[in-house]
């Protein structure tokens, strides 16, 4: 279950987005999308940190549904 989105994967993706925004290599066209994704990843990690396994599973199920890929 965590294999789909681990803390590590979330962290790396987040770091990548932060770097891109930092480097101004994100175009205006996708900025909102990138920030949205970052926000989801942060919320995911924080929620997961502070939730029991059951709660986490629920969140992941929701996120998987809405994740843009």
């Amino acid at each position: 279950m965590e294999t789909i989105l681990t803390y590590e994967a979330a962290y790396n993706e987040l770091a990548q987005i932060a770097r891109e925004i930092e480097n101004e290599s994100v175009s205006v066209d996708v900025l909102a999308e990138k920030v949205k994704r970052a926000s989801e990843l942060i919320v995911f990690c924080q929620t997961k940190l502070k939730s029991t396994e059951t709660e986490v599973n629920k969140i992941i199920a929701q996120m998987e549904g809405s994740k843009p890929k």
């Binding site: 803390y7 590590e8 962290y11 925004i21 930092e22 101004e24 920030v35 942060i42 924080q46 939730s51």
Partner: protein
Amino acid sequence: MMPDLNYIKLSDLNRQIEEIITQNFGGRMFWVVGDVTNHTHKHEKNYHYFDFVEKDPYSNGIIAKISASAWGIGSEKIYNFETVTGQKFTNNINVLLLVSVQFHSIYGFKLNVIDIDANFTLGVLEQQRQATLSRLVAENPGFIQKAGDQYYTKNNRLNHKIVIQRIALITSQTSAGGEDFRHTLDSNPHGYKFQIDDYFTVVQGENNAELLVAKIIEVFNSQIPYDAVVIIRGGGAQTDFLLFDDYNVGRAVARFPIPIITGIGHQKNETITDLMAHSPTKTPTKAAEFIIAHNKQFEENLLLFQKNIVIKSQQFFSYYFQKLASLNSLIVNNSRNIIAHNKDGLVEINQITINTSKSIIFNRRSELTAMASQLASKPKIIVYNRLADIKNIAENIKTFNAQYLKNQRSYLGHYVSLINLMSPKNILKKGFAIIKVNNEIISNPDGIKVGNEIDIILAETQITSTVKDKTTYNGNDFNV
């Protein structure tokens, strides 16, 4: 109360014991070899209290034990020992002590330290510990190496998961340490949730090493992807930790594939287990705090990303709005410049056309005027010069005429002189005479003979005479 029984008061017994001890040990001192455990040092009074023990060299089991203390001279000797050897007087050192035996009615038996042999530096415990460590390194090169004072094991070379949330806890069921650990985790102020699986075992008594090893193997066999394994042992005397210096425990910890965090609950020593584990901490509470801090670090990183993204996004917009604005003003200004330049260009061309057209006409007119005035003056000069030429020629002709006639007259004059000079009339005036014979002028005397009649004609006179004589005349009188 049993009044008829023969008894004595404890104080009487203690006095008798004291008498015998004093009789046998009073004033006597002994050099004794043993290990120090449960050592405490009261700094303010400079008292040392400890248990002096002897261990079986093979089983590591304690075979003799007595309380001991040092103060006064004894403490000074210990201080000297520490200074000389650099070895702190502490647990697990094997020492050679000069002691006296004392018995006190209240405090009981005790050895009083009088001196310590500084040459006997390392305790047997430490020797054994070192031997165990050497053996671990020697026999398990695949997952234990030593570099300097550091031990590198498979376990402590692992990386912690970025978040430690699922934990296998190895502790004793009754351990206060386990409770401390759990409590600390559960009451963390950040709201982090943990999933802790208990693996109970006996974590004291050096003979229970095999049980601990079995628990570690059980964690491995569970196949559960724990983020970390925590080994906790809280409370108890120093001797209770010998379990964690066990070879097999150290080996199992060193090779374990999940990072092991220890919180063995001692303050003064580091066990072989600690040395082999990933993250040794001093106490169960510290172990829990370590995990919380680890997760907290992760969350802080997340928040840092969030903060950076927020700040950068806002900068991003002001930067892009600024870029747009600067392009905007660039376009506005330069468009106006283009129009202004073209306007200037037209005005300039207009000026050039107006001014230069007029100046072309002006210049042409000046040329014409110059030419006209040249034409007005030059022909007059030509005519004047010609007139002068003519006048000149007329003068010349007049002058040359006069000269010409004068010259002609002078040429004639020359001939007049010559003819006058040669005229016979003029010759006769100079005394010459003309001879005529038979009225013929003679210039050759051969025709004149003596007796002939000749006429001599002079300038004004004619004489007729007869020749009487005829001689030759050399004429030298007139040679010049």
